[in-house]
Symmetry: C3
Subunit: 348 residues, 3 copies
Amino acid sequence: MKTNPGNSFEDFRLGQRIRHATPRTVTAADAALYTALYGSRFAVQSSDAFARRIGYPQSPLDDWLVFHVVFGKTVPDISLNAVANLGYADGRVLKPVFPGATLTAVSEVIGLKESSNGKTGVVYVRSTGFDETGEAVLTYCRWVLVHKRDAAAKVPEEHVPDLPKVVNPQELGAACPALDHAAYDAELAGSPYRFGDYQAGERIDHVDGMTVEEAEHQLATRLYQNTAKVHFDQHAAAQGRFQRRLIYGGHVISLARALSFNGLANAFHVAAINGGRHVAPLFAGDTVYAWSEILDRAELPGRSDVGALRLRTVATKNRPCGDFPYKTGDEFDPAVILDLDSWVLMPR
Amino acid sequence: MKTNPGNSFEDFRLGQRIRHATPRTVTAADAALYTALYGSRFAVQSSDAFARRIGYPQSPLDDWLVFHVVFGKTVPDISLNAVANLGYADGRVLKPVFPGATLTAVSEVIGLKESSNGKTGVVYVRSTGFDETGEAVLTYCRWVLVHKRDAAAKVPEEHVPDLPKVVNPQELGAACPALDHAAYDAELAGSPYRFGDYQAGERIDHVDGMTVEEAEHQLATRLYQNTAKVHFDQHAAAQGRFQRRLIYGGHVISLARALSFNGLANAFHVAAINGGRHVAPLFAGDTVYAWSEILDRAELPGRSDVGALRLRTVATKNRPCGDFPYKTGDEFDPAVILDLDSWVLMPR
Amino acid sequence: MKTNPGNSFEDFRLGQRIRHATPRTVTAADAALYTALYGSRFAVQSSDAFARRIGYPQSPLDDWLVFHVVFGKTVPDISLNAVANLGYADGRVLKPVFPGATLTAVSEVIGLKESSNGKTGVVYVRSTGFDETGEAVLTYCRWVLVHKRDAAAKVPEEHVPDLPKVVNPQELGAACPALDHAAYDAELAGSPYRFGDYQAGERIDHVDGMTVEEAEHQLATRLYQNTAKVHFDQHAAAQGRFQRRLIYGGHVISLARALSFNGLANAFHVAAINGGRHVAPLFAGDTVYAWSEILDRAELPGRSDVGALRLRTVATKNRPCGDFPYKTGDEFDPAVILDLDSWVLMPR
């Protein structure tokens, strides 16, 4: 058979290295589409002139755009038969990506754990994106629940990797050049609040809501060449559990990030993903809101230009976030769809 | 509070100068998205080869695209709490904008007038867009009805500016280089009719209709980084007056402009906005039609290459314009959504 | 009247040459939008680095994108009053098109045949796209059923052209540079199957389905500056035969082509269109599936780098293609919407 059936749980091997298909040259057009899809307003990514003034050669592409393109490549090999995308850890942005770069991706299987029912298993991978020079631009771990083709199949070797709960601040900033933070024009950037103005424990309602249409998430997900059929095939979805197309979880992340401009306008760079969970699915017609909590603050070794804020960003559907909905005990508020833990950089 | 609450009427001061956030580098990708959103076919903006042949260094960006990007920047400061966008005057395109330019915007408060009920007020601003060299590319006045936070608040100084009803033809053409109009290929441009072929009083039905989808106006409005929440948040809109998201008025202007190609194919440049009024709201699912009347013709001082036509362009929803629907007495036809008065340039 | 009424059957003359309006500079932004609209993953068009490695100067634009842009230009003159687009023949891609090229189009009337009822007639044209150097990039024949304005009008000269059923393999490859097929990285391209691995008679279900939204086909069709009003005007369509907007047939072709990656990932270039028929209309909300049959294989004279596969690609709506739905006798399966016969190139 010449078509791709995707991998089942028993097809993966610990230590296996998968070089993914479809290299992709990303351009200023991807940046413009990203703006049209999410309305992102961070000045560094929006303006070449602004970026140059503080020390970039030009505007870098949005960090999540780079993530989505790399992620998309991994789908046909890793998650075509996935039941669920369970989590992320140890994500680090390693190099700024500028228009014209060509991205490729490689994944390594770092963990395998069969489910007790024998019908599925969890596959842990570390995926890394590279540019055309062969340098890594992004790396992250994720784990997915994958079907077994044959419940009787034996799984040779199991291992659950020990992943860090939080990326060490020492490792942040690799993708951020030394900046002239005096040249950072806060008025143009949209907010006077810099690194020093945020406190651990502070919570920020991002106020605005964004309703998602089918055409929008399909355009986005195809732009990333993500082929997971749950996002595109209404004819099949109509017979499924939700009767609806599921919106790519990364679309929610980018919406929450764009909404977070209102309150975090100077958080110009996502440096690391500590963890993330797609708590509930989003469907077209739903309206996404978000809020963030500052979990921690960190200075970066040897850098007086930028500091790092550790954020919990929570996105909800059809529920404004003025009262910061999250969990009651271990139970998520039913409106919560995303719980994301990241490090962002801000000028000092 | 670190989020932007927007300005209320009593926050504005006569003479106040507001430097708006989010500089934006506009590229050929914005031009392509603009084509995808409206189907614009004016040859000068569509073809570098055509533009070069007549004297441009390359295709300039569409004048309304530049307007929308500049307008978008003003929203968080001027109209986040607006009840209504009341009008435009004295809009002039001052310099062609080419892909790669970075646009910023500044507004000056030129008028303030409290409403008699004391709950709202009209704010008049002159907004000007600049490129990365600091040169102005576009300037226009608009006035918006804005809520007061506190009905009891005193407004120190009132003033209603005296704005021109029509931009003086002497001021037109600043954004249009000297053209070789003999090199203007009318067949490629799509119409044999030039400046000399149009008469004041002539009315043109633009024939075609365009139905608007939610995804389309949202993509457009985000591309312009316009954050007015009425365009994006269905959850909030469901509780509002219309129960629907409102389509950005500028989206209607661009649709009418694109439709006007059929009958005005050689009106390659919008040189000035004399006035404009969004007569009624447009919603997704509605179909836009348009017609134009030539209100005046003007030669431009010292220019034998191009002449100016003053147009009234009327857009309707769900009503073809073969009989030129407009007003009965002072009352607009119920189908009319836009009444726009502009100067366009045509080769002679 | 200054608006374009389109041509009726009696307006065409055998041998007539029509130079179409609206030259269009195509850029990397059109390529990105094309990816967002269809999710295309062919490595040559997706990655500049991949394309360069095998012998292109950079990624060429997708062949069907070029087709749609050229086709769009012909609509206002050829098919604005068309009842139906009946078929294609002898389509050949003549030169690769790279971002920055400006495309124009010319059509020649090569056949005219009045219908027996005297109310319509078939117009046969050869349309050719040119770049800004004046070189032809694409040529194809199509025939459309067009209304007569006046049933009594006489048609001076009738002729039905003799069009080839299949493009001669000798004529293929003009748009494909000599490639270093050893440098073709099949893993990156997404499939190990090359020219030698496909047999005539082989059938491939492309598995995946793609649901189409109104916003998507409108964005695409406007991107191509195709003005046929059946695609855009719901107000008019509501009174018509289908009560719906019709989706541009080329949108279906591009969806089928993108879906065909799953099974034909190395078919990197569409070299010729032997024939094509839009069997039934597609509407928003429908899900498109596709399958292909290898009709023939051909070596290209003097070329050891690439070989040609002749494909029948069948697209359906709301019906997966695991059992290869096509015809019963002369009758198409009711789910079939496209029957396309093309030559594609693959590395050897």
